[in-house]
Each structure stands twice: as C-alpha cells, then as structure tokens.
C-alpha cells in the first residue's frame, strides 16, 4: 500500500525538514481547508492531478490564487491545445495512492508515482510557508520551498518551479517552453479491479520450497505492454534510507535503537529483580534483540558504499602518463 501520513511525517522529521502541522476535520476543497487553516500565516495551495492523451500524468501545484489555464499549459508542454485534462478518479488511488481531495506533491513519495511530473508554482518561492496535505485530508502541513525542495531531492526529484500564469507564444520558432517537464514514460492503469494478480509460479530452480498446485499452467498474467508500466498496487515508497549513505545518520540510528531498548529494560521492577546484575542482564538483552537487525543495517551500509565506489570506478579517468 502507499505511504501513510505518519510514515511521511516521520520521514520529514528524519530528514530534519522543518514544517508545521495542523489537524482539522476532513476537507475536500480548498475553500473548506481555508476555514481551518486560512489564518495560520501560510499560503493555501491548490493541486491538480492531470493527464494527457498519451497516458502521462502531472501534478500541478499552485497558490490558491494563481490562475491556471489548462489550455495554455497544454500548449506550453507541447501537447497541443486540448491535450490536458483532469485525471480520472481511479488514477488518484492507483498512481498517487491518496484519497479524493488530497492531491499533493508529497504523493510522489510512492513508487507508483515515479513517472508523474510535478509542476510547482513559482509563486511558492516568495511565501513564508505553503500548505499541503501530507497524504491525508485531515491534516495540512506548512513549509517553505527550501524545505519542500529538500524533500523532493531526497526522493530523487528535481523541483521545477514554473510561472503558471505566463502565456508565451508557442509556434514554429518558439518551441513549447515546458516540454522538458513531460514524463518520458506513460502509466497504464490496470484493467482488473484488484490490480494485477501474481502470475502462476512454477517450480523455480532452487528457490521454491512451497507446496505446488496440482495443475501447473504457464499463464501470462498481463500483456507485456501493460506489464511494463503497471506497478503492483501494494508497492511502497521510493525513499532509500539516508542511514545507508551517511555515516553519522547510521550511527545515530544504531544509538537510537540501543537507547530505546536500554530505557525500556531499566524499570523499577527489573532493578528490583536483578539489582547489581541488571547491567549484565540488559547487556545480554541488547545483544539478543539487536544483533541481527544491526548486522543487516551494516551490510546494507557496506553494500551501498561498495556500489558507490564501483560506480565511480567505472567512470574514472585513468591517470595521465
């Protein structure tokens, strides 16, 4: 399933991104949202989820007051005059994995949205803070563009700010100025209600240890073209953990986990129970509970470092003689 609000907010905290959180009853429109957070000193945003004729999807996120003309935008993207329209409701669930009324740049955290293009209103830059839904209609968070950019970069996105009200001429000698923002891949929505069912698994060479069905049929689950683009509905976010690239974060995470167990194991009753031996007891508990988990973290750290070195090695220029 897609990222939840709590997972996203935890992520922002992990990344040390500053934001303010406001909780309110579920709202489905900017007007309703304004009633609750209209006066917090941050600017409301309106967020459109659009698609073009070639099954490519876009989020246009703008200040509530900015005029967004879909016909103009369509031309500036190089899609012709009537190329953009609102995406169908199912796409919201399938691709952005957010409910109705909850389109937000943060939806790009989901793997399913990796080919969705994001257009941000230039106007955001001059605001103290802008309000977005953090994957849920019952909360709004405000943050400035520096913070938003930090988040977007952390999921591998380059933030693109656009003057959404501009209306430049598009013609033979003036190419569409936003053409670079058109996604390279289209997204095909699955035809089955439940998303793609897993294909028949065969007697895999070495890996299968399960009970096999009596009749083994070779069955292609989806046509290859659809298979190319559709992501399993239950796939989750694209965020790799910084703990695997940043030594400081890595150590902090280890210490956090250790502290958490340490604090939970030192209680009145355990002090009474073990007395002077408590140290040795807790030390054992820590090893037992953390050993495997920390080893896994360490191996990922090592693999990540090796990969970066390997990648650099394939591109390095040999020393000049």
């Amino acid at each position: 399933m897609g990222y939840t609000k709590d997972q996203l907010l935890a992520r922002l905290q992990e990344l040390r991104i500053e934001f303010s959180k406001y909780e309110h009853p579920v709202v489905l429109t900017v007007e309703a949202q304004a009633k609750h957070v209209g006066n917090v000193g941050a600017s409301l945003s309106k967020n459109l989820f659009l698609k073009d004729k070639k099954q490519r999807f876009y989020i246009v996120s703008a200040l509530a007051d900015t005029k967004v003309d879909l016909k103009v935008l369509s031309q500036r993207l190089g899609l012709g005059k009537g190329g953009l329209r609102m995406a169908p409701e199912e796409a919201l669930g399938e691709i952005l994995q957010v409910p109705l009324g909850c389109v937000t740049p943060f939806a790009l955290v989901n793997e399913s949205a990796r080919h969705v293009s994001l257009l941000l209103d230039q106007g955001f830059k001059s605001q103290q803070g802008c309000l977005f839904h953090p994957l849920s209609n019952d909360t709004s968070i405000s943050l400035n563009t520096l913070s938003l950019d930090k988040f977007l970069k952390s999921i591998g996105r380059d933030p693109s700010y656009v003057d959404l009200e501009a209306n430049p001429k598009v013609g033979k000698d003036q190419p569409p100025d936003l053409a670079a923002l058109v996604p390279s891949d289209s997204i095909v929505l699955p035809e089955f209600a439940e998303g793609a069912p897993p294909s028949e698994h065969s007697n895999e060479n070495h890996a299968a240890t399960d009970v096999k069905p009596k009749a083994v049929k070779a069955k292609a689950v989806k046509t290859p073209a659809v298979a190319e683009k559709v992501k399993d509905k239950s796939s989750t976010g694209v965020l790799p953990s910084i703990s695997f690239t940043d030594a400081g974060q890595f150590v902090e995470e280890i210490l956090d986990k250790t502290s958490a167990i340490l604090l939970s194991e030192i209680r009145d009753d355990t002090v009474r129970q073990h007395g002077e031996q408590l140290g040795a007891v807790v030390s054992d508990t820590l090893r037992k509970r953390l050993s495997s988990e920390l080893k896994n973290l360490a191996i990922m750290f090592k693999n990540t470092a090796y990969t970066e070195g390997f990648h650099a090695g394939t591109r390095h220029q040999p020393k000049r003689p």
Partner: protein
C-alpha cells in the same frame, strides 16, 4: 525448473494399484502424498522421501558440528528441521575443518510478481551460510528458462531478473562475496564450455526420464538442463575461481530439486569435478494448510513481501488454517491440534526464540492459549520481517544491482 503434471511416477502407479485393491481410505492415503519434480501435494512423509531419493537426514550431530565450526548458534531453520536433508554435507564440513573452503550456489527462476515468504526461505538460509562460513556465493537467475517455459519475451525476462535481484539483494547478501548473474548475460566462455561438456554426458533418454520431455517440447527446453548444472563447477567462473578447480560447491535448495542435482552429481566425476553437495529444505506450507494449494492466482495463499501490515493481519486472521477448536470453551477443554495448525507451523519457521516457541506450543496444545493469541504473535513477527525486507529493498538501487552482477574479482570472498 518447470514441473510437468502429466508424468506418471511410481507413487502414482502404486496409488492406482492400492485403489484397485479396495479400501478406499487406504487408497486415498496412498494417493495423498505426491512428491516428484512436477508436483508436490498432500501430507508428506519426509522420512520416506529421504529413503526414496536416497539422500541423508541432517541429524543433530551435524548441526552441533556446524555450531562448533562456525562459533555461532545454528540458524533457526537448522534447529527446527526446516533444512533437514543433505548429500555430502559432512564432506563439506570435513574439508572446511582441514582449511579447504567451499562456495555456495543457489538461484531463482525470475517470475513476474513480488516474492512471497516461501521464496525467501532458501535465500535467508543461504545468507546465514555465507555469513557463518565466510564463503562466496553465486546466484543464478534463469531468465532464459522463464523466457522458454513461461513464453515471455527475452526483454521481459531480463527485466524480471533484475527486479527479482533487488529482492534477493535485500535479503542481506555481502556484495564483496556475492556474484549474481543472469543466463542471458553470462552464458558463454568458460561457462558454455562446461555446458557442452555436461551435455555430452547426458543422453536424450536420460533427460526425458528426469524432466519428462515429450516429442512436442521445443529443443530449447531439452537443452536447458546443463545451464543449471554447471554453476556447480568452479571453472564456470574463471573471474572468481581461476585455478581452483577442486573447490567444492554446496547447494541449498528445496528437496523437490533433488532429482535435478542427481543428474549433475552423476556427471561431475566424469568431468573430473567434485560432486556438488546439497542441503535440502522441506516445503513451506500454504496459508490454507496441507490441503490448500499455494497458488499464484490466489494471493491469499501466501504472505508477499509487498503486503502491508494490514494485509498480513487480515490474511493471517482470515485465511490461515488453524488447529484451534471452534469455541473458546472447546479450546480450553481439548486444546489445539498442532499437527495441522498453520500459525504454529509458521512460527516454527520464523520465531527465533526456542523457549518462546515451546511455551506457545505447550500452552496452545493444552488449550490455555487461544488461536487469537497465536495469530497475533505471528502477525507481529511477519510484519517485522516484511517491513525489514521492504526497507532493505528500497535501498537497493539499479547501480547496486549492476555492482552485484558485474563480472569482477572478489578478492576478500574467503576472508
């Protein structure tokens, strides 16, 4: 390797005879257990299987020996008898004790969907072997096999191989000791030379006997078996094992793979290689139990690594076959039937703490614990496993896959 459902084997014939002889219940019992390379179903008698296949039981003394040699607790799958049979594992240990290391070989036929827990089991065990013995590992992705048997395009099978590689890497293999390769990328050179050598040693009749090919099968299938045999020979990997022709190979796999590796073991001495050793596991039950079929068209028969915490909870609560009684009162009176209870079986795979497992089995068997509690504990553990896997998988980039799959030396692979 694909399974063929039409092949008649001795058990099938025996079952038919038993049925004819009368005693329907008896015949049903005979027909229940089917284990051959094409079909596994019914209640399996693992002792009989070991006898029939001619492999050895992995007894406690071997497990103790592993503990001594590796200076660490044996893996939960060894302690619980998940990996329970072997061929020549004691020779691997003998050599290891003398200072002669070995390498590990395992693989996967890349399929289109996310892996489920049953798929992860051999990889989890292989990772333990890699860490405990500090030995290198080669992982073969048989994209060519899938292309042929599943009739998907070459590109699609290659794409799937890379996707599956990410889940495999997420199991925690050490990049400085692991080489992952796909057949489409790697077959050629020394590997292919070994394939031809193997092919020359196996008659057409023999492969028909093992794999059940018919005149209608295309020649791609018929010539595939050597591809999965030769990773057992170190000379197939000159960039890794140059000059180490006598390096032994250990293959962790499920016991239904035994017939395939018998072919390899048969051929090895004729080519002057050591026979690969095997360490074999029992089957991971479907959620619905022994009678249920783990069917890829029924996502509720297994827990997938892409399942959310909620999905896992729902699947365990709704679909897991339990041995608990129908009502609380009956449960307290009679206790649960541990033989058929799936939550307890799953716990025996994944609950590391031996004491806690014993406690649960005792209490649940006596009726002092309810099915609800057992399911709750299982859900906790499975969610933890799946989330850890997801996090690790999210950290696997395409560059990391490239690094694992690069044909490169591994200087510290025995370190």
């Amino acid at each position: 390797m694909e399974k063929r459902e039409e092949r008649v084997v001795e058990e099938g014939a025996a079952a038919a005879a038993a049925a004819a002889a009368g005693g329907e219940a008896e015949a049903v019992a005979e027909a229940e257990a089917e284990v051959n390379p094409w079909e596994v179903s019914g209640k399996i008698d693992y002792d009989k299987l070991i006898d029939k296949f001619g492999c050895q039981r992995l007894d406690q003394s071997l497990i103790d020996r592993v503990q001594r040699l590796t200076s660490r607790a044996p893996h939960v799958f060894l302690r619980r008898g998940v990996f329970f049979a072997h061929r020549d594992f004691n020779e691997i240990l003998d050599a290891y004790e003398r200072g002669d290391k070995f390498y590990l070989y395992t693989g996967r036929g890349p399929s289109s969907e996310a892996l489920h827990l049953g798929h992860l089991i051999p990889f989890m065990f292989t990772k333990y072997l890699q860490d405990a013995f500090k030995v290198p590992l080669v992982i073969q992705l048989t994209d060519d096999e899938k292309c042929m048997w599943k009739n998907i395009s070459v590109e699609e099978s290659q794409r799937l191989a890379r996707e599956n590689a990410k889940d495999i890497i997420a199991c925690g293999f050490d990049v400085t000791r692991t080489f992952i390769f796909s057949d489409f990328d790697y077959v050629g050179g020394a590997f292919y030379k070994n394939m031809v050598k193997v092919a020359k040693c196996v008659t057409y009749n023999k492969v028909v006997g093992i794999f059940g090919f018919t005149g209608e099968d295309h020649i791609g299938k018929v010539s595939f078996p050597p591809v999965q045999a030769v990773p057992s020979f170190p000379s197939s990997f000159p960039h890794l094992f140059n000059g180490k022709d006598h390096l032994r190979c250990l293959i962790p796999c499920a016991i239904d793979q035994d017939p395939y590796f018998r072919m390899t073991r048969d051929v090895a001495p004729r080519l002057g290689y050591h026979k690969p050793a095997l360490i074999e596991s029992s089957f991971f039950p479907a959620l619905q139990g022994d009678t249920g079929k783990m069917s890829a068209s029924d996502p509720n028969s297994a827990i997938y690594v892409t399942d959310s915490a909620k999905d896992i909870k729902d699947k365990i609560n709704r679909y897991a076959f339990t041995g608990g009684q129908d009502t609380k009162e009956k449960q307290r009176l009679y206790g649960a039937n541990l033989e058929v209870d799936i939550p307890v079986k799953y716990l025996s795979f994944f609950l590391e703490d031996d004491d806690e497992l014993e406690h649960i089995k005792t209490e649940y068997g006596l009726g002092r614990m309810l099915t609800f509690d057992v399911k709750k504990r299982l859900t906790e553990i499975l969610v933890e496993i799946v989330e850890r896997h997801r996090r690790a998988r999210a950290a696997v980039t395409d560059e990391m896959v490239d690094a694992f799959m690069a044909v490169r030396p591994l200087p510290s692979m025995f370190g």
